[in-house]
Amino acid sequence: MAAVEPEGSGAGYSPGGGGGGSSGGWRRPHGPLQRYYDPSAAEAEAAPDPTDINGPHFDPEVFLTKIRSECPLGQLLAREAALGREIRALDSDMQTLLYENYNKFISATDTIRKMKVDFRRMEAEMDDLAANMEAISTSSARVSAALQDRHRRGAQLAGVQALLRKLQSLVEVPGRLRRWTAPGGEPARALRCHARARAVLRHYRHLPSFRAIEDESQAIMAGLAQRLRARLRCETLEPKELTECVEMLLQLEEPPEELCGEFLSQAHTRLEAELVALEAELPPTDSPSCTTTPPPASDILDFVDRGSSAFVGTLCLLAASYRSLFEGHPGAGDGRLEAFAAALTARYFELLERRLALERGLGDTSLLVRALDRFHRRLRALLELLPAAGAEAGASLVARAARERVDRYLRALQTFFLGCLGDVRQALAAPRPPGKEGPGLPDLLATLASSVLGQLKAVLAYVQLFTARDVAFASLPYFKGEFCVEAVREGLVVAFVRWLCCTARGFADGPAERGAPVAPPALLLLLARLCLDYEATTISYILTLTDEQFPPPDSGPAVTPGPSLCAEARGAAQRLLDHYVQVQGAAVAQMLRKSVETRDWLGTVEPRNVRAVMKRVVEDITAIDVQVGQLFEEGVRRAQSSDSSRRAFSVYSSSRAPGRYAPSYTPSAPMDTHLLSNIQKLFSERIDIFSPVEFNKVSVLTGIIKISLKTLLECVRLRTLGRFGLQQVQVDGHYLQLYLWRFAADERVVQGLLDEVATSAAHRCLDPVPMEHSVVELICERG
């Protein structure tokens, strides 16, 4: 017991410091384990509590000191008693354990001794067993040797049986083939069957029986091939059937080249039938009068629909099956199919083109666009299959159709414009009820301009359908670039504006020459204004609009710049206005000329009135003034003298005394005034009569007045006048002076010309006695 005690104290609580060293050695191996399994112990170690009696850092001194200092006596005693009890209990436990251990050790020793004996016996048994096993294996080898021969025979028999089964099926082949190849049977199965059998048959064909079978099956298959061929040749097959048929024939090892030809010819028949069906809808090409053909029964979309679903669809199908059928077969190279397809598509294009040509009217562009779109889509599908089947031709067909349509729109626009012009002419020519004004020129101009512009916009909108985003062919490079620039911008817009200018110009250039119907002057004026408006705003507007709707590519071909078009329009406007001035001037001049030429200036009586023709001239010019004023701005007038209308109308003095140096050709004019007038002329500007005018009212009127008065001057010079004739001219001139100066840009022009008229009249007068100025004024005011 004494020996146990220190151990027990070491394990639990050492009451005395003497056992501390030995207890530490015993505990050491357990420390890490305990630490491992009990984290709390580790914690306790982290914060060592020397007062914990169960803890590893227990310090009896500290514990005692702590207890002694902290606890009251009663507690100390109770503690001491408790500790004593615990120690005793532990001691008894320890003794029990030790005893048990000893017992177990004893029993273990016994067991081991027993085992030693047992093993010795087992060793002998094991030797026995080995001997037995050897005996078994030798006998087993004997048995298997005995059985081997029989086994081999069995296997041989099984092989023979399989072979026999195969032979059986081979023998059955002709029957099956016959069954399956019979009309209405399943040729495909027959083929499969034959394909399986064929190799074997071929291999063993040196054996007569096999050869018989082979021959028979081959005969059957030949019969099948013959039937298939016959079918291929004479029947019209659906593309699918055709494919099957040819496939089978291929499997029958018919020559692929020949089959390829057969296939193509069959396909050709079929496609040709489709084309003929399509063609039936078209009027015959050789019909002499294309214009009288009735409009086609179905619209273009329908036609293209049918064409693409029937022809293009079938062609696609056939091409695809051709590809899969003859892939890798020599002699059925791509060339044949391509050529075949190209020829047929070419015909199809031709038909479509003819159909497109029938679209004579403007019709529904959206329908055409949709038709072309569908055509193009289907064609693209075909082209993916057959890249050489005329992609160019198809694209160019679409482009041509679009271009054609644009051209037609241009013509329609031109017709429309001519129609508008016709309306305007009619409105101008329509007799107006007195007192009620017809539509004024500004209204007519506005109507004309707006309707033409509206039509142009509408046409652009229609044409834009060709480049819409959802249309497949709009992504072709042609429609992105060339179409926008060359067809629409140049071919439609620019061409129309050019044509418009040209047509307008034609009114000025053409008809007056060779007696064609002459355009009414008001129309000339209207067109001049129209061209001028085009130059100012409309052209740039139209071009901007076009460029917005049809954006030109960045590096496209050169386009007609706006300014050059504007220049053309301005040129046309100038020409028209000049022509207007000439026409109106000529009308007035004609009146004056007739009045001068038909009058007997020698025998006339003393003037009492202004001649009616002068009043008429003033009226006409006033009317022209109103007309021009409706469309053109006033324009600038040169500053007027304060007393323009009151200016004396000068006629040379009547002195008839011929001066010494007076040349013989002016017997009636005295030298001094003549010289004076010549000197005056030196300083006055030369007047160009038929000179271009500016775009304003004053300039136009000045031009007309100049032409009229110059004519009067020239005509008077051709006449011989008497005294009263001169006086009449004087009166007339004054009257014109009185009423015309206000129309002219520079009244001095009017004065100058009228002065010359008077001077010339005086020169041509036999008895130049001018009228008193006051009398002239009186007559003019009265008239």
């Binding site: 000529a586 009569i689 000179s691 020239e714 010079r717 011989t720 008497g722």
Partner: protein, 300 residues
Amino acid sequence: SDSKVMTCAAVWRMPKELESGSHESPDDSSSNTQTLELLCHLDNTAHGNMACVMWEPMGDGKKIISLADNNILLWDLQESSAKAVLSSSAALEGKGQLKFTSGRWSPHHNCTQIATANDTTVRGWDTRSMRQIYCIENAHGHLVRDLDFNPNKQYYLASCGDDCKVKFWDTRNATEPVKTLEEHSHWVWNVRYNHSHDQLILTGSSDSRVILSNMVSISSEPFGHMVDDDELSDQEDQHQEEKVKEPLQDSVIATYEEHEDSVYAVEWSSADPWLFASLSYDGRLVINRVPRALKYHILL
């Protein structure tokens, strides 16, 4: 009768001194005016106002054609021009009062053709049958003022009129003019071919201008003056090459603005092909020369 004006025609003889072209001092002429000698009148009382008188271009001066109102009168001068006998005549019939304004006797075809102008129409006549042989309707937009035949090129006729234009016609094709000039700004009263170099055209107009044009393309020498290569030295050869390079183009050579009033007559000198005169209403007679550069260009 005082109240009636009648245009008449007469045959005159120029004074002998002037005719011989004597080189008298020029200041004598004003003091020493010669008078014309009246030979005979062309009696037109039955036919109306004389508009135009023309001598037979190549003949012996015995034949005269005059245009009076709507009549063409062919006169024979007899007894050394002391008497004019009407040998044949033709009248232009038609709607309204037709009046000839001008006429011209063609120097080609053995002098058997004349051309007349009335209103806007130009007509050709055969003097043997006195029948119309061609007619250019609406030759000008307005009145036709004057005509002239190309002296070196058959069938070529120039006309001018109130539409300010000068037109050149091939009388075998009366529908379209061969060429049109629009340089004047008022009526053109006169057009004249140069007698020897028919590319030179002179026109006078009531815009007070005289214009000299070079109509090479329709002249009898459309490729310029032909010079044999042999005659040229090397230097000239080079010069010739340069000249060939610049193409011969119709152009206005010069516009003469010396006149202050309407020009009613222009005429080439019959002696010097480079000299011409023009006359305007205010009595100014201007004599001009073809520019020297052009002259050499034509000659060399």
